[in-house]
Symmetry: C2
Subunit: 401 residues, 2 copies
Amino acid sequence: MRSVNPDSPPGPAGPLTPRPDVLVIGGGVIGLVTAWRAAQRGLRTEVVDPAPGGGAAQVAAGMLAPVTELHYGEEALLALNLASARRYPGFVRELEEAAGLETGYRACGTLAVALDADDREHLRELHAFQQRCGLESQWLNGRECRRLEPMLAPSVRGGLRVDGDHQVDPRRLAAALLAACERAGVAFRRASAARLSVSGDRATGVVLADGTELSADRTVLAAGPDSGRLDGIPAELLPPVRPVKGQVLRLRVPGAYAPFLSRTVRAVVRGGHLYLVPRTNGELVVGATSEELGWDSTVTAGGVYELLRDAHELIPGITELPLTETGAGLRPASPDNAPLLGPTELAGLIAATGHHRNGVLLAPVTGDLLGELLATGDLPEQARPFTPRRFGAAASEEHLR
Amino acid sequence: MRSVNPDSPPGPAGPLTPRPDVLVIGGGVIGLVTAWRAAQRGLRTEVVDPAPGGGAAQVAAGMLAPVTELHYGEEALLALNLASARRYPGFVRELEEAAGLETGYRACGTLAVALDADDREHLRELHAFQQRCGLESQWLNGRECRRLEPMLAPSVRGGLRVDGDHQVDPRRLAAALLAACERAGVAFRRASAARLSVSGDRATGVVLADGTELSADRTVLAAGPDSGRLDGIPAELLPPVRPVKGQVLRLRVPGAYAPFLSRTVRAVVRGGHLYLVPRTNGELVVGATSEELGWDSTVTAGGVYELLRDAHELIPGITELPLTETGAGLRPASPDNAPLLGPTELAGLIAATGHHRNGVLLAPVTGDLLGELLATGDLPEQARPFTPRRFGAAASEEHLR
């Protein structure tokens, strides 16, 4: 038998459902996929978010690119990224069926190119590293790159063709997850979580901005960068998640220019990661800046200028395309660029945050791992390297010894 | 005694007013100022426009800059521009009083600067030409420019200070004109004019897109670039007005950076006219491209890129400012860059179009000249150089002789 939350009387401010098993703070892609999987496992699940389906998914380009996103020293993250990428086709099939909506998943491959000799050297090293990691990629010279993507600048000196790095449309993904959650019986509380409720040494739910208290057996912290500053979490247990701003443009490819690009094209230009992600509906997403500016999420003249300058250097023909949208969002970054998945040091509080540049890519595996943890109490082995406890006080002492 | 338009029964599709004396096609700044002045003179006036107050005013920067906009061979236009600039303070006072709204008029002056030796030579010539025309402007070296506007790039080599070139906010100007028209009794027909009605050799009104016929003694063609393609006007009498696309950005100056710029700053960069117009409300308008692309009015990646690149070269600090809006509009350009004012070769049809880059500046004098013409039948001497007949078949033959 379940008890009804005794703190909130029924009515407009009261509980939407009987006391949920799981409260999810944050209705972005990670919170939604977690709630969907929890509900599928028979758990009463409620999501707290003023605008579920919003967040970084409204800005993100949706690259599913574990191979071209490979970085030295991040082999554990690579394994998780690859596992999630492998699950994507099945995940999308299941989600689209459950939601009755499409996600814009596109197995189009990626071409990472070099604009000068230094870039080429860097890509060569990445290629060797990819091969040591057992990843598939193919070296192309400049002419071969332009044969594949004729809009590329004549200055492109070479590149890596990665047929396994794909894309999804994060806005459609978020909308599909929202619909799937609703169909699976997830309740939505369209309000802001003001603070975590803690009783003794246990998380017991959240207090909303209007003072309403919601309680649950377990609370999942999936609030993106806000996860690092939610009131009520003891300071020493706050996840070390910070906002990293990304600015992104959306262009439109008129029919006369289609397809313009037939796969994702990316490069490192002046030290920044630039990518152009072409959707089948004619949208061309150009991203992204990476700015450590705290909570500022404005679109700036400088951000838009740099993206257009660098994109123009890579693909001169973009000048002809309509610019339909500019946007900025905040990525939840952790100290080691990997997510925080699983139980925290505070009983009853589970983290699903810190996904940084990989939130969309990691949605399938995050949903699976958190669903398993919530349903069975056991965190699968695969999630162990990503325990939030790796940043805790005990972990730090361990590290110093 | 006035007759009621016999072609349209009363009711939703019928006349708003008894048969008007004056029908104005186009509710942009020029159409509105004409309608306002006509109504003030006691004429029954009706404006036909699906969205009065829209048009280029929603994009334009609102520079009132006859001195810095001076071009060789356009001395007649200079005289008209100067006459209108002189009227601006009184015009704005009267309009704001009549409308109960402010226009954002700001007597802030303009600084035209040079970024390299060629620019400086060009500005020196402009300065000499200004002096020959009796215009006031002051030569400053680079250091003096930066003392006046500390955000200017170190590369600025010199400039012209023109304290008489001001600005107004075209959006607020259009809103004030709309309110003043309404208060003066102007009727608004929120619909598109599909074609001019011509009976015998006389214009008799317009047919709307839904087939409704409106008739009037006189019809004023103030439809901006559309003036050059309105159906029903005999081909040989169509005003030679074409669209010239302008793209414009709007940035915001946060309080911490205010005032950022204290006057309009302009330059010629890579052959294009660049200007930054700072409003007292913190808006900073950056314009404008000049593109001969027919009726295309999309914001493009290339247009935004060029404006940001050139503005960044002139004022490096703009990178920090939020980019709040991108927009594009179409200027109505004529073969000699001057407006078409007054009776056309078609009886009953009067032109108030072709204002190109000077529509906002020329609003006061256009209103005065057209108001006088409509009220008395006489076009003031000042408007003679701008007769639409200068482009007619007869004029061309004259020219060839």
